[in-house]
């Protein structure tokens, strides 16, 4: 286990330069460059804010940051799962050339997504500071726990998705369908209280993504640290996915090459 991690660390220049190359080639010929990645969540937020502020008479100044935080986190997790499906095919040339720890390929995908996520997060913070001032600063250090947890979760999800997708190539399609369903079951565009009021509290309480959302959203938007239960649920889910990913990796390290 430690030798595996130190192997990953030894190759850090390799996967870091691949991440940089991915980002660069994706935005090479576009004028606003990496800003494109912000366009989707920001545009979604603008549209939904306009609609919902009319429909539910929601307060735009608190709803917009709430929504943006939710969409950013959701986009990060889905891109880990969906792009993660392709990660081993993307690294096929290297896997066939040289033995490497396989976990670096999902890591490459997730790091790319994390760059976009962090960019969005800084836009969100500026937005909150403009609307509500700096009252959330005391709660922000809790992100130092939440963000690494989210990152490890996404890395493990991408690993599982990638490995299953090598075996069964319809995984990506099924993942997209499944995520679409989860999107509506998770309090992303509506507040979790709406589910709680209607005796659907279990949908929130046992949803690891809802817990992750709480960990990020509450300190940023409401200037308070998420309840311990959210951390517990998120940590439990992360542990479960990490164990799953490690078990799959242990099986795949010897065999993946025959399926590529």
């Amino acid at each position: 286990m430690t030798t595996y991690l130190s192997d990953i660390w030894r190759l850090r220049y390799f996967w870091l330069s691949l991440v940089r190359n991915d980002l660069r080639s994706r935005y090479r010929r576009s004028v606003i460059g990496i800003g494109w990645s912000l366009l989707h969540p920001v545009a979604m937020t603008a549209v939904l804010c306009t609609v919902f502020s009319q429909l539910f008479r929601a307060d735009v100044y608190s709803y917009a940051p709430f929504l943006l935080a939710g969409l950013l986190t959701w986009n990060f997790i889905t891109s880990a799962a969906v792009q993660g499906c392709q990660c081993f095919f993307l690294g096929e040339t290297y896997i066939k050339q040289c033995p490497t720890p396989l976990a670096i390929y999902p890591l490459r995908t997730v790091l790319g997504a994390a760059v976009h996520f962090c960019l969005g997060l800084s836009v969100l913070l500026v937005m909150v500071w403009l609307f509500h001032g700096f009252s959330n600063l005391p709660a922000l250090p809790s992100l130092l726990v939440a963000l690494p947890l989210l990152f490890v979760f996404a890395w493990a999800v991408a690993t599982c998705a990638g490995l299953v997708n090598v075996m069964f190539q319809d995984t990506q399609h099924l993942t997209e369908v499944g995520l679409q369903i989860v999107f509506y079951l998770t309090p992303i565009i509506y507040p979790p209280e709406m589910l709680r009021m209607r005796r659907l509290a279990w949908l929130v309480d046992f949803n690891p993504i809802a817990a992750m959302l709480d960990m990020l959203r509450l300190p940023i938007c409401e200037a308070r640290i998420a309840p311990l239960e959210s951390f517990a649920v998120a940590a439990a889910a992360t542990t479960a996915v990490v164990v799953c990913a490690a078990a799959l990796l242990a099986r795949a390290q010897q065999r993946l090459i025959f399926y590529l």
Binding site: P99, L174, Q254
Partner: protein, 257 residues
């Protein structure tokens, strides 16, 4: 000094007869209890015993499908052996398919860096090697161009320059030298020879028997996944040529009759 050792190694590919199945298919078959295992086993390598020592320049010959490339990939550690032992006591650098291992949209310079990092280099050591690699490849201005637009020969030059620059203990090359032009082939030959003098080992696969005989001091004849002969290049290559021509002749005479 032994650098690499294979002991009773075998490799079995398990191939699905109907290509890939989907997850939906898999789950439904599992639920209906009709999990048929429609697989075919291919014995790619059997009973391979090989000891590679410092100074060995091993050339591997044999007909198509004899397991030459598979053996190389197993030596490099890309394929894990199904049975038997593989022991390595040195740093391996490999050059298989020339189109493999390049990011098509990145420039030649960037690809030099990626490949070197993959071998475990750091930015500091890479910077020292960059110039030497670029010079050996003779690609000049083309290194600023995305590798996507390189010709086959240019890709080979780049790949070979990188693979040999890290001074590996063991260099493994699969049938790629022929793609470079004459001048580069001569240069590559020289580089291989200088690697030998640094007490390293080289393993080559080639159908170019003349250049194998010139380059190697040991030859391995593979057939049907087994080692048929292992010895001095002249002897092994002569036996291989004789066997091939005689079987071709008998095939032709059978057809004529």
């Amino acid at each position: 000094m032994t650098l690499l050792e294979l002991e009773n190694v075998g490799l079995v590919f398990s191939v699905r007869c109907q290509g890939r199945i989907s997850l939906k298919e898999y789950v439904i078959r599992g639920l209906l209890g009709r999990a048929k295992r429609n697989r075919m086993e291919v014995r790619a390598l059997e009973d391979i015993n090989l000891r590679l020592c410092a100074g060995d320049r091993l050339g591997i010959i044999g007909p198509n499908g004899a397991g030459k490339s598979t053996l190389l990939k197993l030596l490099a550690g890309v394929y894990p052996p199904t049975c038997g032992q593989r022991r390595v006591y040195g740093r391996i650098s490999s050059l298989f398919d020339i189109t493999l291992g390049f990011e098509p949209d990145a420039t030649g310079w960037e690809n030099i860096a990626f490949r070197s990092y993959l071998q475990g280099e750091t930015p500091r050591t890479v910077r020292q090697r960059m110039a030497a690699i670029a010079e050996f490849s003779e690609l000049g201005e083309f290194l600023n161009m995305p590798v996507r637009y390189y010709s086959t020969g240019m890709t080979v030059r780049l790949g070979f320059s990188i693979a040999t620059a890290i001074e590996p203990d063991i260099l493994i090359i699969d049938e790629v030298l022929a793609a470079g032009d004459l001048a580069f082939q001569a240069k590559a030959r020289q580089r291989i020879q200088s690697l030998i003098s640094a007490a390293n080992a080289v393993v080559l696969v080639s159908h170019d028997l003349a250049s194998l005989q010139a380059l190697c001091n040991r030859a391995l004849w593979m057939e049907h996944g087994r080692i048929r002969a292992d010895g001095p290049p002249k002897q092994v290559i002569d036996a291989y040529v004789q066997h091939t021509t005689s079987s071709a002749a008998s095939g032709a005479s059978r057809q004529a009759a």
